[in-house]
Subunit: 175 residues, 2 copies
DNA sequence: CAAAACAATTTTAAGCTTGAAATTTCTCCG
DNA sequence: CGGAGAAATTTCAAGCTTAAAATTGTTTTG
């Protein structure tokens, strides 16, 4: 509601990218790039978290979980959600517990395989999610508003290349 | 050590960017951009966390804290560290406690103002950090290796624009 | 068919993170 | 000087996150 910490301290450090590291040879360009990426991502993420809490008394993990379910009318298997959200299965268990208690989610055991849990948004959960999603889209839109469509396109393409690079590296293993 | 979860499931979801959200009007381009950014950032971050744990039995927050201190030969005030790392002061307190126990950090109360805590790397802490930093730089370098220098430059520039956009939006407040 | 192997999920232990309340220590004004 | 108020940090309660171990249920195979 009032000016918050993020804004107060922004002038001091936001442009510093001070999370610097030393490099033995000269991986410095990559490090700078990574730190800048991380800074952008962190700034957006904390703002989204803050607003979800303030406006909806909710959290980003809960929002993400509901977002996964939003397009799965028939619900989704717990393990599938875990993979898509890139988080550990145990994590999902806890989130689902709370969201089920609060009436946002329903959970069913698959009759043909009683190991499998299927979770889905309840109508209430879906309605709540839609409110949040609309606001969320506005927030992101504002945060990115200073980027021209052209810049957005270029950034999108470069990030696609980066993503390929990362996945390739992960595939190569400990290289 | 062995092929891990991340790699196993990668083919399934990594290219899906399924954390999708619905948009009332058409903030869709910005949303896609944000999700791609977040994906890249998350992939790199979890890989770094994993390796810090495996190779050094350490964590990213500890590494980041030491990175802050690395260039401050005379140490740093706790509050300053907290601002630079963009985390809450209470968080730093806990991290410093553990890193002090393990001998990586020293902490002193400023004689002229006994509210102020000054923390610094010990020689041991500095030596440990340098090992980690060198490996860290290698990891990042590998992850970004698929990007040409030109792409790297373009990405750097676009991210700079994005950062300005984000900060401007934060400055505008709840807009 | 039973046992081993496998699969999905939950539990557990540990650590990170936050916002808010509480502490401790200054500083400044009357 | 003495207290109000501000500043730096710590404590607290709650929630997130993970890896690894434990459960529960299914499938495969001898």
């Amino acid at each position: 509601m009032t000016a918050d910490k993020t804004l107060d301290i922004a002038p001091d450090w936001v442009d510093g990218e001070t999370k610097a590291l030393e490099a033995p040879h000269d991986h410095r360009a990559e490090l700078r790039l990574w730190l800048r990426l991380l800074t952008c991502s962190t700034l957006v993420e904390s703002e989204v978290r803050r607003r979800l809490r303030e406006e909806f008394d909710s959290t980003l993990p809960r929002f993400d979980l509901m977002a996964q379910l939003e397009r799965a009318a028939d619900g989704m298997v717990l393990g599938e959600v875990s993979k898509r959200m890139m988080v550990s299965p145990g994590n999902i268990t806890v989130l689902v517990e709370r969201l089920t208690e609060s009436g946002h989610l329903s959970r069913t055991t698959l009759p043909t395989d009683r190991r499998v849990q299927i979770i889905a948004l309840t109508p209430f959960g879906r309605a709540e999610f839609e409110k949040m999603a609309a606001r969320h889209a506005d927030w992101i839109s504002d945060l990115f508003a200073g980027l021209t469509p052209k810049d957005g396109g270029v950034l999108m393409d470069e990030l696609a290349k980066l993503k390929r690079s990362i996945i390739a590296s992960l595939g190569r293993g400990g290289a």
